[in-house]
Amino acid sequence: MTKTITIDGKTIPFEEGQTIMEAAAAAGVYIPHLCHHPEYAPHGSCKLCSVSVNGRSCTACTFPAMEGQEILNDTRELNDSRRRITQMLFVEGNHLCPGCEKSGNCQLQAVGYYLNMLDNHFLHFFQPRQLDASHPDVLVDRNRCIFCTLCVRASHRDGKDVFAISGRGINKRLIFNSESGLLKDTDLDVNDRAAHICPTGAILIKRTGFTVPIGERLFDDKTIAETSLDYERGNHDG
């Protein structure tokens, strides 16, 4: 007999070892997320995928699906909290969409749209963060880093460990593995997965910005829920 959980009252099958996020995605249920990526070990840090499991708050990307779980996901309360958490990310970093090449293809922005986020609500930190344009093909703008560690995870799998998160608390920062501390002196190659996995505009490939006109960008006509589920489906089938 297939094991099942319910999400917002809908019965969803799962396989032993799947997380709630994986079971949900396989069943076509979108749970908002930023640090989760189906190809990498879950991190559980952004907390956007927080769901209520039998009344207790859990991160769907790390928490195992277990028989009989009653899960709430698409509720007003959870989405309100997720919007606040997204706003925290916006005021912590310096996210100026109109001047960002990633605009329209940015997952942080798209999650904001999905959650009906109209403003940043909190006081802005306005902390200066360093930009590194030293690499011939890749630019890193730390102002847009949300500490999801996807580049760290990807670069580890690339066998290069180019990226790491250093520091503590609100003073965290993205650092590079080179004696000079500059990106150009790392082993990063433009074809590395790590250079392409950033959900925001923190890691950009040079000379590729604004090539897709407004109106045709990733999130111009599709929601992040649709693109995310499409991606998961493509991953499963292909």
Binding site: S45, K47, T59, F122, L123, D161, F163, G167, R168
Partner: protein, 594 residues
């Protein structure tokens, strides 16, 4: 330096998991971690240099830029503030001609604040090059400044500056009757290990760190794992502000604590144990090593313990200034030489702990109590306490009372009894369990010490009527923002936002919506944070807001809105550059309309 680093790495077998210990020694020698050392270590330990930088930047006691040859830190606990810490730090800064947070130009001395150093019964406290300084006053500061300016080596400083008192003001069941060396192990082997686990189970002993998980159950889970390699870890990262009982237990009763760990090893089959000692307790390190040595000599540690075929030894790992490492999975990460970032759970440490192996992590007091139970039996332990909270709790009492120190009480004791015993008068309220616990008002002193009522890791800070709630809340929210590991969004960003919001109200700039915003933010951090730190970081706000809503409301201006930053201050730079000070060059904080 090259030889030093090489020898050091070799001493630690070039093992990555020793990274934090290695870095501590480099910091102690050079007063920072030179870039060169990072490069060299990266090669010797075969790890990316970013791994090393990441660790250095995580721990408060490690630095990428040089500190003074005398690194002075002053404890920033609320109890230190209650004894004029701020004035004293100012005086010290003046005496030494160094700003707080800075290094003096000649590189001789640096001065900064640090989170509670666990000397709340003998503060204001501080540290010099990692060694505790107690009972700071102007006279002592004069002496310290003089010693530093004369470049007197630390070893030649008078011992009284470092004297740490073990004030056991009220011993109870456990402290009155410490066990004889080896008694718990002998009793356990005599009774049988399974029977001893059953005895601990029957005693109802629950974790003394605050969370209260059943000790026997934790040990049994660990034992039940198929893995043959297991570990026992004693959590002596006593970082909750206001707590210092573990310091006293380790100074006066270390044998009994180590015996509890060995007992746990005998039952679970672990061969290696660790005492994770907070960096602030460096002064205990040599003494504890000596006790471990004695125990090996006495056949109570090492191979074939008591000739019962038990092999077990204990290493001491020092922390480096990170409250988060009191969280058990962060502590394990730190033991592995990493930044102390709490892991995702499940899996739990009892199945996947140190190096991924089953690991028991217990508080100092838990091991201390377990060994007494092994000797005296469950019935002896359950003769006191309540049905759900057997035995006694050791409290660290500080703040406004005549006799701060260590007190041991049977669970079920009322707070009023505690207050009477320590000589607390005109009490406004009590912070139970430290900043992460609960603030109780003077209407609640009939409440009881118990897991089912007021659970506490042992921190009890008393405030009298002269204290200001906002000073307290402000200090605590600052503490959490400083100590957040930064892993998850709600805690990383939320604790800093909370600090700003509390400061705004505290400084008298709060307006109508600000308390509601504060509460919403608090609930968000509590509800969605990754670990216990974030989940409790808003407690100082939420528990005082619940008890003193009128206090918060009265603090608000009768206007609908006030900016969250200093508007006129935001014109400072432009005023200075344009050399203007006319009326139009200023802004009022609030417009004339509201």
């Amino acid at each position: 330096m090259k030889q030093f680093i090489q020898d050091l790495a070799e001493k630690h077998n070039n093992q990555e998991k020793q990274l934090l210990q290695i870095l501590r020694e480099i910091q102690a020698c050079y007063h920072y971690i030179p870039e060169q050392a990072i490069e060299q270590l990266s090669g010797l330990l075969s790890i990316p240099r970013t791994r090393i930088t990441g660790v250095v930047e995580f721990y408060s006691f490690l630095h990428l830029t040089p500190r003074g040859q005398y690194e002075l830190l002053i404890s920033d606990c609320i109890t230190d503030h209650m004894r004029d810490k701020k004035d004293l730090t100012g005086y010290l800064a003046e005496k030494l001609n160094v700003a707080v947070g800075a290094v003096r130009k000649d590189g001789l001395v640096s001065l900064d604040n640090t989170s509670c150093t666990g000397m709340c019964d003998q503060g204001p406290a501080g540290m010099v090059n990692g060694y505790a300084l107690t009972r700071l006053d102007r006279d002592r500061i004069d002496r310290i400044a003089d010693l530093i300016n004369r470049r007197e080596p630390l070893a030649a400083w008078p011992a009284d500056l470092f004297y740490v008192d073990d004030t056991v003001a009220k011993p109870g069941l456990l402290l009155k009757q410490p066990i004889m060396q080896g008694a718990a192990l002998r009793a356990a082997f005599k009774r049988g290990l399974k029977a001893t686990l059953a005895e601990i189970e029957q005693s109802g002993l629950r974790g003394r760190g605050g969370a209260g998980f059943k000790t026997a159950m934790k040990w049994a889970f660990c034992t039940g794992e198929a893995q043959s390699e297991r570990y026992v870890v004693c959590n002596a990262d006593e970082g909750e502000p206001g707590t210092f009982k573990d310091r006293v237990l380790l100074n006066s009763f270390a044998h009994q604590v180590f015996e509890g760990m060995t007992l746990c090893a005998a039952i679970t089959g672990a061969r290696q144990g660790f005492l994770y000692l907070r960096g602030e307790y460096l002064h205990l390190y040599d003494r504890l090593q000596e006790i471990l040595h004695q125990r090996r000599q006495a056949g109570l540690l090492g191979s074939n313990i008591l000739r019962e075929g038990l092999d077990f030894d204990i290493d001491i790992h020092l922390g480096a200034g990170a409250y988060i490492c009191g969280e058990e999975s962060a502590l394990i990460e730190s033991l592995e030489g990493k930044a102390g970032i709490p892991r995702n759970r499940p899996p739990y440490p009892v199945t996947h702990g140190y190096l991924g192996k089953p690991t028991v992590v217990n508080n100092v007091e838990t091991f201390f109590a377990a060994s007494a139970i092994a000797v005296n039996g469950a019935d002896w332990f359950t003769q006191v306490g309540t049905e759900k909270s057997a035995g006694t709790k050791i409290l660290s009492i500080s703040g406004d009372c005549a006799r701060p120190g260590i007190y041991e009480y049977a669970f079920g004791t009322t707070i009023q009894t505690v207050l009477n015993d320590c000589g607390a008068m005109d009490v406004l309220g009590v912070q139970m369990g430290g900043p992460s616990g609960t603030f109780i008002s003077n209407q609640e002193f009939d409440r009881k010490l118990a897991f089912e009522d007021l659970a506490t890791g042992g921190s009890v800070i008393i405030f009298n009527e002269s204290r200001n709630i906002f000073d307290i809340v402000h200090n605590f929210t600052h503490f959490f923002a400083h100590e957040s590991c930064g892993f998850c969004t709600p805690c990383r960003v939320g604790t800093s936002l909370l600090r700003k919001q509390v400061a705004k109200i505290h400084e008298g700039h709060g307006s109508a919506g600000d308390v509601a915003a504060l509460e919403e933010l608090g609930r968000l951090i509590k509800g969605y944070s990754h670990c216990g730190l974030g989940q409790t970081a808003a407690n100082p706000v939420l528990t005082t807001l619940e008890r003193y809503p009128e206090l918060y409301q009265n603090k608000l201006k009768k206007i609908s809105y006030e900016p969250g930053f200093d508007l006129d201050g935001a014109l400072d730079i432009a005023r200075r550059l344009a050399q203007r000070d006319d009326a139009a060059a200023h802004l009022s904080q609030v417009g004339d309309h509201d």
